[in-house]
Symmetry: C4
Subunit: 191 residues, 4 copies
């Protein structure tokens, strides 16, 4: 099975998701600052979601670099990841339009959490296919960043019902934490 | 004619279809559970359609692996398949928004049935191009799963007018039946 | 300059156009036959536009096969073609929703006519880059089919103001005329 | 890291942006000239945005031709460029629907300005990765056209509040200035 076609399909889906996000930025009725102002929370959510999808594309790119073989399990684990990512435009729009409400902020986090779990499953499927000398397993090590993200998302989801700003802050922390591509893998690739 | 460009075009179309599906998940007006609840049937239909498009991409991927030559007939048979798949976002939205109505459930099945028939036609066009020693024909054998799917879709369409849940159950059965990539072809490829 | 990236970009644009066409099929309010019936003209226009975009993809595919070099002029001629094709979802939706009106049917034809002219310009740009021994020029010959299409589109545009059915019939005639990929080029490629 | 996948992802995003632009051309209610006329400003803005996205794709294509290595910084600089380009459909729709208003014309320019700055940052990231003998640096020289564009965009943004036509004229000037692919790079590639 060809890794190239898996990469191309995933890139296609992420490219479309990152682009149709903009359709959530509804064109305002008026043409003055007053018409633009209500768009600000949607725009900020848009920036955050754009960053998350960019991070996933980036890390997916690095991870597949270290994959040797693609099997049926990897194909499905990849589609499972794409499924959760495909919900990002919806949660972006809902959180953007209800910026001070708890539930949309929590649901936004649930989709990010499920995507992070799906990413971990995909990682394990690739490692399982590579056997004990897996290059990817060596590159990832204890995957502290991955586990920390999942813990932070779970915290953010619960905190949304206390105060939505806690959740937002945590989402931004996770995004910043990942904005640098995975050096562990990058250094392996260079070797 | 290049197989690569046919694969890339098909992947592009399926990637876009699987992604614009999410546009059918309309952002609810409110921000509480009550606002989210009416979305549940649309979401479940979304999951089902995502699975079907994922299955088609997966099997299309496997099938083209065993194709040697691409001719005009194969190009058109492929576009014919993409045509029926392109209607999935529409039927998903319509069934999702009218979850207890017979006609949308039946039309959902008609599009799946036509896509399954188009897939079979594409399969035959590839086999016809390969001649008597077709690797694809050998891999597919009697195509029991393909024929069974078509029979199940036809049954589901009629049952929609009795009770829509029968149809839904059958659609799920067909999806589960295919969720494993075609082992027959996979083993051939490995050989 | 790489032909591959030009092909990939064009395929991407056409794949997206052929897919977002379906967004013009608005989900009906009701769930019975009465709700579905008004969609019929939009659906038929959808089928026609799908066929036209499929034909363009197909012939574009064949034409670029015979292109040796890509230069700046070819890049822009290609973008010019994509521009006119990009208007097809708009004209499809407008004609579909106003099926018995003259102007939408004429505008539908104008976009097809401009796309056909843009295709001819692209063809000439490729031939000009190849010089006197152009393989594409030899394959195309006098380009009767191309010239005839342009004449038929022009006729259909004027006839739309007499009776829209004449235009529709002519659009279908042109589509059928092209549904077979360009044998002249195909035979050249095989040689 | 593979340049191919970066190019494919960027091409995908630009192809989708250039295509979903057409969704801003809302289908008019009526079917006569009166219904079509209000679309004219949206259509003209559409043509302008299509040209800008085409220019970016074209120049991006040329620039990456001269890139040797892709590193993490280049990936993020590229995503940053795509972010600003992703806002073009929104600003196109807003300016198109409010054609005689100052603010939408200024915001249209702000997005173009930020995209131009992002392009320059990407250029520098590639040059930095290539070291003192950078082929791209040699090809670009003093980058007069790039600097002039940024100055013209800044002027156009301020002039929008005087008279929107000044801004429009400047946007068209910049587009025309770039409609020819970068000869400096093209000649380097040929060498």
């Amino acid at each position: 099975m060809s890794k190239g076609r898996l990469e191309a399909f995933s890139d296609g889906v992420v490219a479309i998701l990152i682009t149709i996000l903009v359709l959530e930025l509804r064109i305002p009725r008026g043409a003055d600052w007053a018409a633009l102002r209500p768009l600000l929370p949607v725009f900020l959510t848009y920036v955050l979601s754009f960053a998350f999808l960019g991070i996933y594309w980036n890390n997916h790119h690095h991870m597949l670099h270290l994959a040797d073989r693609i099997n049926g399990g990897i194909l499905w684990a990849n589609l499972h990841l794409l499924f959760w990512l495909s919900l990002v435009p919806f949660t972006t729009g809902w959180m953007g339009e209800n910026y001070w409400a708890a539930l949309p902020a929590a649901v936004y986090g649930v989709v990010l959490l499920m995507a992070a779990i799906a990413y971990t499953i995909l990682q394990r499927a690739i490692i399982a296919g590579q056997g004990p000398d897996s290059r990817l397993a060596a590159a990832i090590g204890s995957d502290t960043k991955g586990k920390l993200s999942i813990a932070l998302y779970a915290t953010a989801i619960s905190l949304a019902f206390v105060n939505q700003w806690f959740s937002d802050a945590l989402y931004i922390v996770v995004a910043l934490m990942w904005l640098i591509p995975d050096r562990r893998i990058e250094s392996r690739v260079t070797e």
